[in-house]
Amino acid sequence: MMQSNKDPQFKELMSKSKLEMPFPDFEDEVILQIKKQEEHKQSLSQHLKVSWLSFFAGTILGVVLTVQLFQLRVEGLGMSSTVIELIFQLIFSLFVILSFDFLIRFSRKKSPKELFNFKSLRPPFLKSKT
């Protein structure tokens, strides 16, 4: 009943359903899109190199500043030097961690859409609700 052999009459009928790409410039359009994508990928990898360099330079500078702040014993805004140092160190650590996470994700060649998807940073108990 359910033939898996090809019924020649029906095959002939189906041969009339053959379609051809009706857009003559299709091939050029695809190649152009691919070349654009390649260029974009190359510029992304250049940006990535600059970003890693800036990250390392910034981290070194941050460490130097932290040490300097510790030696200078800066006081102000009614806060002792220890509190100011602690706040600075906290902000600096947070900045380093976030930048490092961002760069790692960027290096794994994630798409810009995924890169800026901050939902992925949500804790698991919030993810399950959505």
């Binding site: 359910m2 898996s4 009459q9 002939e12």
Partner: protein, 186 residues
């Protein structure tokens, strides 16, 4: 047949991809039309599928034929576009009505050009995407049940049932809706 060109593309020769496009664009277009039933959407589907195939070419291990691997991308892309199209149609039903009118006009021109081609393609447009896909893969692109199974992710029995129902549906449509005597078409 595409193997040397695939290797060239993997070695960074973008232009070698032209051969692959030439080789598969018509078949891919037929498959995309089976799902989205619109020329312009089908073009977008095939274009996206080629770009995806290019970017993911390094993941093609050669366990199956390149065409099998590529057509799976085309079909997935076509169903994604179809879902998007459904959402958009709900929003702009008024615009769709105007477009339908122009499709009817284009179709009547096609009747004069080639009746048989027109009727069979119209019948394939009327039937569900999976029926149309199965028929085109089996009869037009000469795939066997095993290969269709691999491309579509169906079981053997399911593939056979779909093919059987699709064949009957097309025959009924040609008989009843278009009042075409089968002898006329063969």
């Amino acid at each position: 047949m595409c193997d040397p060109y695939i290797q060239k593309v993997l070695n960074g020769d973008t232009d070698a991809f032209r051969f692959i496009i030439k080789q598969h664009q018509d078949e891919a277009y037929s498959l995309a039309m089976s799902v989205v039933k619109s020329e312009f959407l089908a073009k977008d589907v095939v274009q996206n599928a080629f770009i995806k195939a290019y970017t993911k070419l390094d993941t093609f291990k050669g366990n199956s034929k390149f065409s099998t691997w590529f057509f799976r991308i085309v079909i997935n892309e076509a169903f994604t576009q179809k879902r998007k199209q459904k959402r958009q149609t709900k929003i702009s039903e008024g615009i769709a009505e105007t477009n339908n009118q122009s499709t009817v006009n284009e179709s009547s021109q096609k009747i004069e050009e080639d009746n048989q081609r027109y009727y069979i393609n119209e019948a394939l447009k009327q039937i569900p995407a999976k029926y149309s896909l199965a028929l085109r893969l089996f009869y037009l692109q000469d795939y066997n049940i095993e290969e269709i199974k691999e491309i579509m992710g169906w079981s053997t029995s399911n593939t056979k049932v779909i093919l059987y129902r699709a064949r009957n549906k097309v025959k009924t449509l040609l008989d009843e809706t278009y009042n075409i005597d089968k002898e006329e078409l063969y």
